[in-house]
């Protein structure tokens, strides 16, 4: 056995023969599993709950008002968006809706494989606050020229299908055209449904770090100068509310103009106001109102349910136990003078510290992975039984979240160990480890303003909680991308890298001091 392997063996014997350390590790696992499996969270989502799935396999929101005609083969559609107005939810009960547009209200031209939710598509649109965009298949978004729509500045849009290539153009005057982009839709059938669409996502307001309110909004676009060329099949335009339900039309509004399609899903409720989703033919165009979104589905307060990240909310409690054990395995030796026995047995101090960190890290990793695996495998099922919708994630994401939770705990334990070496006193080392790893997370989850919380979760060791994010964040979807909703300011691996950097620097500094200090 090599010298280092002997030291690792000795440190493992040391660790497993102190009941306190074992209890601490068991408590960490129990906290993670307990808070994960018994959250007391209940919802009203039955077995019918679910979201449509897009071409990439991701969950999508696909709710909008669609004025369409079938197009066989190639063809072009051109329209002028003369106006884009909307309604925001009332800012209090009993009040009237306020005029205004949400930033991602969308009105424009779309080519789809059909009217089924989750169909492959490409669309060029004018938005509430993000200018002209070319989007396709829910997750892809490309910017055109900025600016909105007004009577003095209408926007012209053109969509051309040639084979599986869709080209989008925009113009200020209908004469001089600029390309927005080209996308390839490999699953677009020979006959596609093409036409006008309007939709308007939920109006979302964050309340502090954890609270949120959201309500539907409505957008209305005036389309004129509608022209088509190519293989258009029918002379009449069909109006349809994709993803809408007939019992949800607003007070004072007429019946939905088109047949409702799609199943019951989130985001399709219309605002309580005077206007309703629908379409009305005008001289050479339509006035179309819509509510909903064509976008990837985002979890959290703005969305429908919860994510596996939120089932791991107990990680912070587990982390408390882990950093206590991590710091105390070292400070306990200082307190009792046992460090001299340890260093008499292992006088190469760098190796002695490395062996201790190895054992602590490995034990913590195993405990963390086991606890996270239990929660991630069993937790979503329990939540679904309680009627809570849990966004499904890929196996790869589950594995990353499980292994990442173990790594987060293990690296944090090693950081606490480094604090223990540097400070030598249990109370100060444990306090510092808590302040560095657990506190920033708790603060940003609860009382801190979102910006301050995001800053903490970028620079402190608590950044590693990002490894637990299970659903992606999309720039083209307005959401509450807060830690409380399972979204972190850093990407999963860079968040873990921040903690790893802290632990590496901490351990290196601890080793430097440890090797030079008299004990």
């Amino acid at each position: 056995m090599s010298a280092f392997a002997r030291l690792v063996h000795a440190e493992w014997t040391k660790f497993r023969t102190v009941r306190g350390w074992l209890i601490g590790m068991a408590a960490a696992a129990a906290a993670i599993v307990g808070l994960g499996l018994f959250p007391g969270m209940e919802g009203t989502c039955g077995s019918g709950c679910g979201l449509p799935v897009g071409p990439g396999g991701e969950e999508v929101t696909d709710v909008f008002t669609f004025v369409h005609r079938p197009l066989a083969g190639d063809g072009t559609i051109t329209v002028r968006v003369a106006s884009l107005t909307g309604e925001l939810p009332p800012d209090g009960p009993g009040k009237e809706p306020q005029p205004g547009l949400v930033p991602w209200a969308k009105a424009g031209l779309i080519v789809r494989s059909g009217t089924k939710q989750g169909a492959t598509y490409a669309a060029v649109m004018v938005t509430g606050a993000h200018g002209v965009r070319l989007q396709h298949d829910y997750v892809h978004d490309r910017a055109g020229k900025p600016g909105g729509v007004s009577e003095s500045a209408p926007r012209w849009l053109r969509l051309t299908r040639a084979g599986d290539v869709v080209t989008a153009l925009e113009s200020a005057d209908g004469t001089s055209w600029t390309g927005v982009g080209t996308v390839r839709l490999k699953d677009l059938p020979a006959t596609a449904e093409v036409g006008l669409f309007v939709t308007s996502p939920m109006f979302v307001e964050g309340i502090g770090a954890a609270g949120a309110s959201s309500a539907p909004s409505l957008a209305t676009a005036g389309f004129d100068h509608l022209t088509t060329t190519g293989g258009w099949q029918s002379a009449t335009w069909t109006t349809e509310r994709i993803g809408g339900t007939s019992d949800e039309h607003p007070i004072g509004g007429g019946p939905p103009p088109g047949p409702a399609a799609g199943d019951a899903s989130g985001g399709s409720r219309a605002p309580a106001g005077g206007q309703a989703p629908g379409a009305e033919q005008t001289g050479d165009g339509f006035t179309v109102s819509g509510s909903g979104d064509i976008a990837p589905a985002v979890a959290g307060a703005a969305g429908l349910g919860t994510t596996i990240s939120q089932t791991l909310v107990g990680t912070f409690a587990g982390l408390v136990f882990v950093v206590v054990v991590g710091a105390m395995t070292m400070t306990g030796e200082y307190r009792r003078g046992l460090i001299r026995t340890s260093l008499a047995a292992a006088p190469r101090r760098g190796a002695a510290l490395a062996a201790k960190a190895t054992v602590l890290g490995a034990v913590t990793f195993v405990v963390g992975v086991a606890a996270a695996a239990v929660v991630v495998t069993i937790g979503p099922g329990l939540l679904r039984d309680n009627g809570v919708y849990v966004h499904p994630v890929s196996t790869a994401t589950e594995l990353r979240v499980i292994a990442g939770t173990g790594a987060l705990l293990a690296v944090a334990a090693v950081l606490a160990l480094a604090f223990g070496v540097l400070l030598r006193r249990g109370t100060t080392a444990v306090t510092l480890a808590f302040v560095a790893t657990v506190l920033p997370y708790l603060l940003s989850m609860t009382v801190l303003p979102v910006a301050a919380g995001a800053w903490l979760l970028r620079v402190t060791p608590a950044a590693a909680f990002a490894i637990q994010q299970s659903t992606p964040q999309y720039a083209q979807v307005e959401g509450l991308y807060t830690p409380a909703n399972g979204f972190f300011p850093l990407t999963p691996w860079s968040g873990l890298a921040v903690l790893l950097a802290w632990a590496t620097v901490g351990l290196a500094f601890a080793a430097y001091r440890f090797r030079r200090r008299d004990v």
Binding site: M1, R6, L7, H9, A10, V18, R336, T341, A344, V519
Partner: protein, 309 residues
Amino acid sequence: MIVVSGLRKRFGSHTALDGMSFAVEPGQVTGFVGPNGAGKSTTMRVILGLDAPDAGTALVAGRPYRSLTRPLCHLGSLLDAGALQPGRTARNHLLWIAHSQGLPSRRVDEVLERAGLQTVARRAAGGFSLGMRQRLGIAAALLGDPPALMLDEPFNGMDPEGIVWMRQHLRGLAAEGRAVLVSSHLMSELEDTADHVVVVGRGRVIADTNIAALLKTAAAGRVTLRAGASSIDVAAGVLEAEGASVSRTDAGTLTVTGLPAEAVVTLLTTRGVPFAEISSHRATLEEAYLELTRDAVEFRAATGSEAAA
């Protein structure tokens, strides 16, 4: 076995070691004696590589301790018997130390038996008496079957039975050919145990001698004379006249140096001076030690009071 040469170390303004040099030979118990603060524990920590000296070297088996791959197989040590994780059992305490040296768990059972701890091996060490902790410490020091052992104040706080056990044990280890270094601040503890003694004070070696030679120099032929009040002054005068130095210990007692007891008897009898008792004084190891360290202690007291002022 253990060779210390020219060790110097300062803690701030305090000089802990001031050129400490000595060697510990195999096959004997070497006492390492000096008043508290003389640098004994610091020297032992330097030997174990726990403290770094400002100057000088400490070699174990010819090498610095920190460079030994299985150090406990070269030098077993017991610095602080209380340095235990209280919840860990005696056996597990020895087990992790054994694993750190790549020793099999069989060795653990062997040293437990040798230290007489088999029956308490699976009890938490936190509940041990000091005597049992010392035994556990000895067991740990013996794990690697080392040719050299180093114990810091092993008699401290032990009951008489434990002291007897420890003495026999140390003698036995030396008889096996091991080099044994035992520190103490009480020379009397090493009586009948140490073969050799290194007396230290103020961070350096005051005397490095075997016990027999030390006792010889310290004995120095002192004679105690007791006589009646009427004759004691006469006796003093007679003895001084013959070249002895005389000091009055109390009203009826004189301490005489410079003349052997037989000469004192002959002289006083010849002159007809009556006396009650004459005894030849045999120096104890403790007295020899106090004599040797007097300077160091006085110096320390003086600097201490200066510092306090």
